[in-house]
Amino acid sequence: MSQSRHSRRNTRGEISFQKSEAASLSEGENEEKTGALVVLRRGLQVSPELRTGAGLTVLMALIVASGSLAIPVLIQQILDQGLRGEDGLRSNFIYISCAIAFFIVSFVIFAQRATYNRLVRVAETTILELRVRVFRHLHRLSLADHQESRKGILTARVTSDIETLSQFAQWGAIAWIVDSVIIVGTLTVMAIYSWQLTLVVIAIYLPIIPILKAIQQQQFLKYREVREAVSETLGQASEAVTAAPVIRSYGYQSSIRSKLEMANQNQYRRQIKAHKFFALLAPVMDTFSALSIAGVIVAGSYLGPDMGLTSGEMIAFVFLTTILIAPIWELGEVLDQTQTALAGWWKILSVLDVPIEVHEPESGEKLRPGAVEIEASNINFRYRTGSQILSDVSIRIPAGTNVAVVGETGSGKTTFVKLLARIADPTNGQITINGVPIHEIDAESRHTSIQMVPQDGFLFDQTIRENVAFGKPDASKEEIQTAFQSLGLTDWLNKLPEGMDTQTGSRGERISVGERQLVALARAQLANPGLLILDEATSAVDPETEVALVSALERLSQGRTTISVAHRLSTAEKADLIIVFDQGKIVETGTHQELSTQNGIYADLHNTWMGNTQTI
């Protein structure tokens, strides 16, 4: 039976090894080193689910371990007591002890079932709660933390990092609990038979720790090289695929082919190299296993007679020695997985340390319906780790004004309007809406009164109706219809294959950019806001949608304060007030008439634009 454990784990190790290799392909970042205990302590603190009944878990693991230990003890008892009692074979003793062993082994089946169920349940509940907790925290983070460049990392924290942790919980974590109990249990039973021989076994096994560590380290390094080689190959392949037309029309195949071949060969070589260390584990383990068995037999033969060791005890001891190798081997193999999982766990936990910057008031003031007045005084904004985006911006926008915000990319105009929607708070300075500081306004009221329509009119992968109702989930079908109707979009809506129930596809890709904005406008209309913030679509919208968009917008802005981030200067021409941003500052304000004669930045922008669209 000892062999069975050994080999089973050997196999499982191989399979889980494959899996961890696959999982790590997506891991691009360098693992930081944090002590396992530090991670564990913080992890337990964040996830109280893990702490409940930890004692019970250990007790159950003990019962599981006793299943493995029952057989060698039975062998010893039968050989020493049953087979060679005073009067030969003691059948009754044998039957009774076998019955006891049978009972223990069967009982352990059920105990082990309960243990697995328990461990899986605890692990999965912990992981679910952790995922939700981190996701909630991420959603509360300021927009600065949601910059485009970091989006992938944030997403990974609640997807692939959590998955890695979960994979570990299914194999590695269970292995740690069960295996350490088996090792301790086996050594204990061994020591009861003969502490001298136990010391011999421990002495033989001791060198395995540094050897395993060294192999692990090499394996870790080599697999990092494999990952690099794989991403290099994929990078080359990605060029070959995305640049297909260029490669073909310029006859560039042979050059790309040799690059691909080089990357491919390199990947192969690195994989083989890395695998060598994995393969090396087997002879190392087998050598130690053989050494320990042979060592026990030799030591037992010399010391045994003087210690009064029976042959049954000696044979049981040999079996116990073979039991010992399996958990050691398995722990050696999950070590790498454990490191990765701990590093991943730490990364997930670290997210919770990122401070939340926008705090909603307990009982804030409500905004009255109707157009709002806005005042920004001396506001500054900088990302926590980045450069100054806005400096000393002050502006008063009377209720009902139609404002166009213009400026080059990176001038701060988009950040400015985001602050007005309180998607982030200014680093200093104050924004008031109807005279109330923005951070004192009730969140619910603010979300209804201030509606922002983003540039790409981002839609969720749902129906148009659900997307419109996103801000007001209890809205009836009629209300939504009215929203479209009041924007003059009923015709457009009816032309869609399934009207309001048309699926918009992932990120709204099934409908055009212009149409996405129409849906976003309807969403805003439904909320009946006092302030409408609009980030104009940059890409050309097809003529028909353009007409619908312009007229819907005109209707939507009636009776409200409207602030548009204008990418087309035709919007600015019609505005009551133009605010020109340059390098984080407001440099010009006024109407089109005033600004176009001023020879400033606006006039420049306008001239370039005119140059591009001269009279037809």
Binding site: C98, F135, Y252, N264, A421
Partner: protein
Amino acid sequence: MQPPITQLEGSDSNQFRRGLKLISRSLKLRPFSHAIAITGACLFSIAAVVLTRVLGYATDDVIIPNLDNNSLDKRDLWLAFTLIIAVGLARGLGAFLRRYFLAGARYGTELYWRRQLFNQYLDLPMSFHRKKSPGELLAHADNDMMIASLALMPLAFTIGTFFLTIVALVNLFLIHPAIALIALVLFPLLAAMNKSYSQRVVAPASSVQEAVGNTSSLVHESFDGILVVKSLGRGDQEVERLRESAEKIRKHRISVGRLRAIFEPAIYALPNLGVIALLMIGTWLIDKGSLTIGELVSAIALFGILAFPVRIAGIFFEELPRSVVALDRIDEVLNLESSQHQHQGTKAISSEPSTLRIENVEARYDDQLILNNISFSVESGEVVALVGPTGVGKSTIADLVGSLQQPTSGNIYLSNTLLNDIKPSDRTKTLTIAFQESFLFADTVKENILLGRQFTDRELQEAIEIAQANDFISHLPDGLDTQLGERGVTLSGGQRQRVTLARALIGNPQIIFLDDSTSSVDPVIEKRILDGLRTRKNISLVIVAHRLSTIKLADRVIFLNNGVIEGTGSHQELMRLEAYASLAKAYEKAGVDS
């Protein structure tokens, strides 16, 4: 008891046959590696069985005489010692050979398949790439490849353990037929349990995968739409949405865990129950004198090593269908006939001056008619603008004249020679295309312009100057030798387009097709580029344009709508067409991009 066979009956025999085919393909590619790996596995099996017999020998000849009768023969002791070590080493060596050479076989097979795949990516016609997303094609080289080759891993193991089963059974028979009988009852039972476990776990395991995928896309979507979520204050609802989705993962994982909890402990306990039976029968046989204690010890140890082949076979058959499906996806690409075997032109054409003529061309994409009976020609020295709404087929024309796609009917002539008859190198020298998407390779600026072609430094410099790229290239850290891409410098959209323009106009091609390739370039610079191009003698330009300023630079405008040419003439003339005028108005409104 033959676990692999039992497993086989349960699985879809067609699936199994295809799995064997997959394996035999790898065997042909890497016969040597597979052979050593299998030899290693058999060595492991023999050593494992021999070790049990050595333990029996040690029991009877060393342990019992020494401890029970106090008569230790030191020669026997050291013989046992040496044998255990030697057999242990042999077992380790066997495992090493299997693991190491199996890796060689697996990754070597991957290497070959991946090479074939890459060749296909380079040689298949453009229509293939238009149909497939890059992500899908990369997945073939990455994930699909890994899963397909996973089926090779247990091959040597399965053969080795099959061998082990036979050797171990024979040994049990030799020890005592009654003992072999216990094994014959026990192990088929074990195989049946394994099979049942494997079958039942499939559904919840794939539910887990699905739930993980759903949750992942939910998170992506939620963070992509963070602005909307935040501005509408829907964070809490998003958290609820995630909880619901993640709850499904939890539920399915717990069902997988429950199955595991039912089967695994029983599967691992079964050999132990066998050992208990063995002890009962064994002691009786020992008492009767037909079995020694050493033989009983051997038998117990043999029971141990017999238990695991069953598990291996289970894993082998669990993975096989997935691998077959993954290889199917790869084969779908490998089995396509590449253009290398297609007709290639051989005719040379005189280099100048050149004309382009398109006659009654019809083009389809997936049976959808894109271009319907299009005819036009471009004379030497002429500048023609192609105008039309998005999706009308302007880029299809670029594909057709670049031989990236074949028309379903009609002909294209370059300098009065049928395009398909022209030697590819002559065609690319005479006619170049600057594509809509300015693709740059992770290489130097210079290589990105040359793309392996031979040009003089003067030609290179001239191309850079006309493309108005001189200014920014000279400001790059290493000038023309600056590395671009992931590990190098990132260029802005307009700069990228100017590099790809230089690529298209180097070496004085006679016809240049600009497929909206100046859209990110400032209009003022665009005008300079086009003016610069016009100083070249006899050069013809076909420009796909979305800007009025560009359109106005053309000698002639061709207006495409609904797959046909609706009008040809100057911009002024075409303004009389209602469709053209409304499109022009939209372009005007678009104005300056941010």
